[in-house]
C-alpha cells in the first residue's frame, strides 16, 4: 500500500513539474505576444504621427526661412540704394542750384564740400570738370588738378547719361573707391560735378552686416569683382570664384551644394541686382545655420519620439508583467483550490469506505449479540445446570457483550467520522466531540509512544458549528502533533478546553512535546504549500486549510512554538458561527 502510494505521488510530482514547465513557457509566450501587440499598437501610430508632423513642419519652416531671407536681401538692397540715391540727389541738387562759375571758385567749392559733409563725411573729395575733361576746381586730399579725364570711361558715360556711378576702382589713389558724377548744361556748355564717395562709410554699410556666425553680405559688379570685402573667402577688387548671372529683376534664392574640395559647406544664397549701378547684392549663409531652428525642431521631434517609444516600452513591460503576474496568481489559486478539492475528495472517499466497512461489521456483531442472548435464554431455561458452569458461562457471555459494545463504539465512531464529511451546522458538544476524535486516533498514536492528556472543562456550553470541518481541523492538528514527535521515543499531546464567555466562545488548546517550529517558519505555517516535510510526504495544505476553516467558522487560530520543546496551537471557536455562514449553509441545504 505504501509503495503504491509512493509511486503514485512521484508520478503526480512529475506531472506537476511538467505542468509548471508548460506554464512557464505559456507565460513567456503570453508576455512576448502581449508586449509585441502593445508595441505595434502604440509605436506604429506614434511614428506615423511623428513623421507627418516632421515633414509638415520642415516644409513650413523652410518656406518661412526662405521668406525671411528674401526680406533680408530686399531690405539691404533698399538701404544701399537709399544711400546711393541720397548721395546722387545731393550732387544733383548742388549742380543745379549753383552755377559753374560759382563752383569753379575753390573757396565756394570748399564751402559746398563742407556743407555736404556737415552731418556725415560722406564724400572724400569734390571736383568741377569742364566738358573737355579738365578740372576747374578741386577740393580733396589729393592733388588732381592737372589730371585730364577726356579718355576716362566714366567721363564718357556721364557725358552720355547725365548721372554716373562707377564700379570700385583703384584709380590714382591706389585704394578702392568709386565716384559719382552728374552733369549740368548751362548756357549750352556742359560741366560735371564729380565726387568720390567715402568708401569707408559705404563699405561699412555692407560689410558690417553680420548674419549669424556664417552669414555674409557683399556686392559684386557685372564682371564678378567684389565691390565690398566679403566676410569669408575673398577681398574687395578680387574676382569672385562664383560665376555671376546676367542682370535680372527681383530676388533669387538658391541652395548651393557643399564643395568638399574648397571646404565650403552647403549654403543658402540670395541675390538681387541694384538698379544703379548694376551691382549684385549677395547674402549667403551656411545652410546648417540658416536652418538650425528647423534642424533643432527636427531633433526635438526625434527626441520626443524616442522618449515616447521608450516610455511605451517601459509601460508595456510593466503592464504585461503585471498581467502575467495576475494570471500566475490566478493559476496558483486555482491549483490550491484543486488541491483542496483533491484533499476533500480523498477525505470523502475515506469516509465512504469506512462507512461501508463499519456497516458490514455491524451485521456480524448483531448476530453475535443474538447468539449471546440465545445462550443466556438457554441458561435461564435450564435450571439443572451446574452453578459453577453457569457462573462461568454468564461471565463469559457478559465479556462477549463488553467486547461487542467496544466494537460497536469503534464502528459508530467510524460512521460518525464518515457522516461528518458533509457540511452541516449543528449543535456540537465539544468535549464529547474531542473525546471521539481522540478515540479515533489514540491507538495509532500509542504505537508511536504518544499519549493524550485531555483536560476538558466541565459544563462547556454546546457550540453551533460544522462538525465535519471541525473534525478535519482537529484530526489535522493531532496528526501534525504526532508527526512532530518523529525521532522521539515518546511524547504527549495535551488537549484542553476552556469557555470564554467574554468573547462568547470556547478556547481549545493543542500542545505537543514535539520538535517545534523555528521562528522563521512560524510566520509561514498557515501559508498554502508551505511544508517542511520531504517532497511527496506533505502537501503543505493542512494548516492552511485549518486556518481557512477556523476563519470561516468565525474563529481564530494562533501558534506558539519553541524548537525541541513543542508547539501550541490555540483555537478560538464562537458559540455560534457568523450569520452569513449559517445562511449560505441553509441555502445549500434547500437546494
Amino acid at each position: 500500500m505504501e509503495g503504491r502510494e509512493a509511486i503514485h505521488t512521484s508520478t503526480h510530482d512529475a506531472h506537476i513539474e511538467e505542468l509548471r514547465e508548460r506554464r512557464k513557457h505559456y507565460y513567456a509566450r503570453f508576455f512576448r505576444r502581449f508586449a509585441l501587440l502593445i508595441i505595434a499598437f502604440f509605436l506604429v501610430p506614434l511614428f506615423l504621427v511623428g513623421w507627418g508632423i516632421n515633414t509638415y513642419y520642415t516644409k513650413f519652416a523652410t518656406a518661412r526661412m526662405t521668406n525671411s531671407f528674401h526680406a533680408l536681401v530686399d531690405n539691404h538692397r533698399k538701404i544701399i540704394e537709399l544711400f546711393l540715391g541720397e548721395r546722387s540727389s545731393k550732387l544733383h541738387l548742388t549742380a543745379h542750384t549753383h552755377s559753374r562759375d560759382y563752383l569753379a571758385q575753390v573757396s565756394n567749392l570748399a564751402h559746398v564740400f563742407e556743407m555736404i559733409n556737415l552731418e556725415q563725411s560722406s564724400i572724400t573729395d569734390l571736383g568741377v570738370i569742364d566738358e573737355h575733361g579738365r578740372h576747374l576746381a578741386y577740393i580733396g586730399p589729393y592733388d588732381l588738378m592737372d589730371k585730364n579725364y577726356t579718355n576716362a570711361f566714366w567721363f564718357k558715360e556721364v557725358m552720355k547719361k547725365g548721372l554716373y556711378i562707377s564700379d570700385m576702382f583703384m584709380g590714382f589713389r591706389k585704394i578702392p573707391h568709386f565716384i559719382m558724377a552728374v552733369t549740368r548744361t548751362e548756357n549750352g556748355e556742359t560741366w560735371i560735378l564729380r565726387a568720390t564717395i567715402n568708401t569707408e562709410v559705404f563699405r561699412s554699410l555692407v560689410e558690417n552686416v553680420t548674419i549669424g556666425k556664417t552669414g555674409e553680405v557683399y556686392l559684386l559688379n557685372q564682371q564678378g569683382i567684389f565691390q565690398t570685402s566679403p566676410r569669408f573667402r575673398g577681398k574687395i577688387m578680387e574676382k569672385s570664384p562664383f560665376p555671376v548671372e546676367s542682370f535680372h529683376e527681383g530676388t533669387r534664392i538658391r541652395i548651393l551644394d557643399a564643395d568638399d574640395q574648397k571646404h565650403i559647406p552647403r549654403q543658402i544664397v540670395a541675390q538681387t541686382w541694384l538698379k544703379e549701378p548694376h551691382w549684385m547684392l549677395v547674402v549667403k549663409q551656411d545652410y546648417s545655420e540658416a536652418f538650425s531652428d528647423v534642424n533643432h525642431a527636427n531633433r526635438a521631434t526625434l527626441v520626443f519620439l524616442l522618449l515616447s517609444a521608450i516610455a511605451t516600452l517601459i509601460v508595456t513591460v510593466i503592464i504585461t508583467k503585471h498581467m502575467v503576474a495576475v494570471i500566475r496568481r490566478r493559476d496558483a489559486e486555482a491549483d490550491q483550490l484543486s488541491k483542496q478539492l483533491m484533499q476533500a475528495g480523498k477525505l470523502a472517499s475515506v469516509g465512504e469506505l469506512s462507512a461501508g466497512v463499519a456497516h458490514e461489521i455491524n451485521n456480524p456483531l448483531a448476530i453475535i449479540l443474538t447468539e449471546r442472548q440465545i445462550l443466556l435464554d438457554l441458561v435461564g431455561q435450564t435450571p439443572s445446570l451446574d452453578e459453577e458452569f453457569k457462573k462461568e458461562l454468564v461471565e463469559s457471555l457478559s465479556q462477549v457483550d463488553v467486547q461487542v459494545q467496544r466494537c460497536k463504539r469503534i464502528t459508530h465512531n467510524l460512521l460518525r467520522f464518515s457522516r461528518r464529511t458533509t457540511s452541516v451546522i449543528e449543535t456540537v458538544n465539544l468535549n464529547e466531540f474531542l473525546r471521539e476524535v481522540i478515540e479515533l486516533v489514540e491507538r495509532e498514536a500509542k504505537t508511536s509512544g504518544i499519549t493524550f492528556i485531555p483536560e476538558l472543562e466541565e459544563g462547556l456550553p454546546p457550540l453551533l458549528t460544522d462538525p465535519s470541518q471541525l473534525q478535519q481541523v482537529f484530526l489535522n492538528l493531532i496528526t501534525n502533533a504526532v508527526d512532530a514527535h518523529d525521532g522521539k521515543p515518546y511524547g504527549s499531546i495535551h488537549i484542553s478546553t476552556r469557555s470564554d464567555d467574554e468573547n462568547e466562545g470556547v478556547e481549545v488548546v493543542f500542545a505537543d512535546t514535539g520538535s517545534g517550529i523555528s521562528q522563521k517558519n512560524l510566520e509561514k505555517v498557515f501559508d498554502p504549500f508551505f511544508t517542511t516535510k520531504p517532497v511527496g510526504k506533505g502537501t503543505g495544505l493542512g494548516l492552511s486549510i485549518c486556518y481557512s476553516i477556523i476563519k470561516r467558522l468565525g474563529g481564530d487560530v494562533s501558534v506558539q512554538s519553541e524548537l525541541d520543546k513543542g508547539t501550541v496551537f490555540t483555537i478560538f471557536l464562537p458559540y455560534s458561527p457568523p450569520s452569513d455562514l449559517q445562511e449560505s449553509m441553509n441555502e445549500e441545504l434547500e437546494v
Binding site: 462507512a355 463499519a358 456497516h359 455491524n362 451485521n363 456483531l365 448483531a366 448476530i367 453475535i368 449479540l369 443474538t370 447468539e371 442472548q373 440465545i374 435464554d377 431455561q381 461487542v404 460497536k408 464502528t411 459508530h412 460512521l415 460518525r416 464518515s418 457522516r419
Partner: protein, 155 residues
C-alpha cells in the same frame, strides 16, 4: 395471551433465525423472511401486527419495501433496524410512516420495548378506525357497504 404477530425482514439468514428464536422465547409469533419481495408476499397473504425491517438489503432495499408496505394500506406498524451510519435513511423511513428505528447491533430488551410500542399503536389505530366506521354507519347506513370494501389506509 398471544404475543404480537411479527414479520422479521433481514437478508442475514442467521440473524433472522436467531432473532426469531429469541422473540419466540419472549412470546411473539415470528415469521422470518430474507428479502423485501418475500416480505410483501407474506404481508399480502397473512396478517401481521409489526414488521421489523432491515434497511440495507440486496435486491429490494428497506426504503422501497417500506413504500410497498405502505401501498398495501395495512394497519401493520413498521420498525426499522439500521446501521449507525444510515441514520439519515432511518429518519427518511420514519417520515415515510415507519413507527421508529433502532441501530444495529441492539439489545433484545430494547427491541422488545419498541415492538410493544408499535403493537400498541397499531391496535389503537385499528380500534379508532372501527369506531369511526360504526359512527359513519349510524349517521348514514348506506355507507355500511364500504366496511366490506378495501381497508382504509392510516394516512
Amino acid at each position: 395471551m398471544i404475543g404480537a404477530r411479527i414479520l422479521l425482514v433481514d437478508d442475514e439468514v442467521v440473524f433472522t433465525k436467531n432473532m426469531a428464536k429469541l422473540l419466540t422465547n419472549r412470546g411473539y409469533v415470528v415469521t422470518p423472511v430474507n428479502s423485501g419481495d418475500s416480505a410483501i408476499r407474506e404481508l399480502e397473504e397473512n396478517d401481521f401486527d409489526v414488521v421489523v425491517l432491515d434497511l440495507k438489503m440486496p435486491g429490494m432495499d428497506g426504503i422501497t419495501t417500506l413504500k410497498e408496505i405502505k401501498k398495501l394500506g395495512l394497519f401493520t406498524e413498521t420498525l426499522i433496524l439500521t446501521g449507525h451510519g444510515a441514520i439519515d435513511t432511518a429518519l427518511e423511513a420514519t417520515k415515510l410512516g415507519a413507527y421508529d428505528y433502532l441501530t444495529k447491533p441492539c439489545e433484545i430488551d430494547e427491541l422488545v420495548a419498541k415492538i410493544e410500542g408499535a403493537w400498541e399503536k397499531k391496535d389503537d389505530a385499528q380500534k379508532d378506525d372501527i369506531q369511526e366506521k360504526i359512527k359513519k354507519v349510524v349517521e348514514s347506513p348506506s355507507s355500511a357497504f364500504s366496511l366490506f370494501g378495501k381497508k382504509k389506509s392510516k394516512k
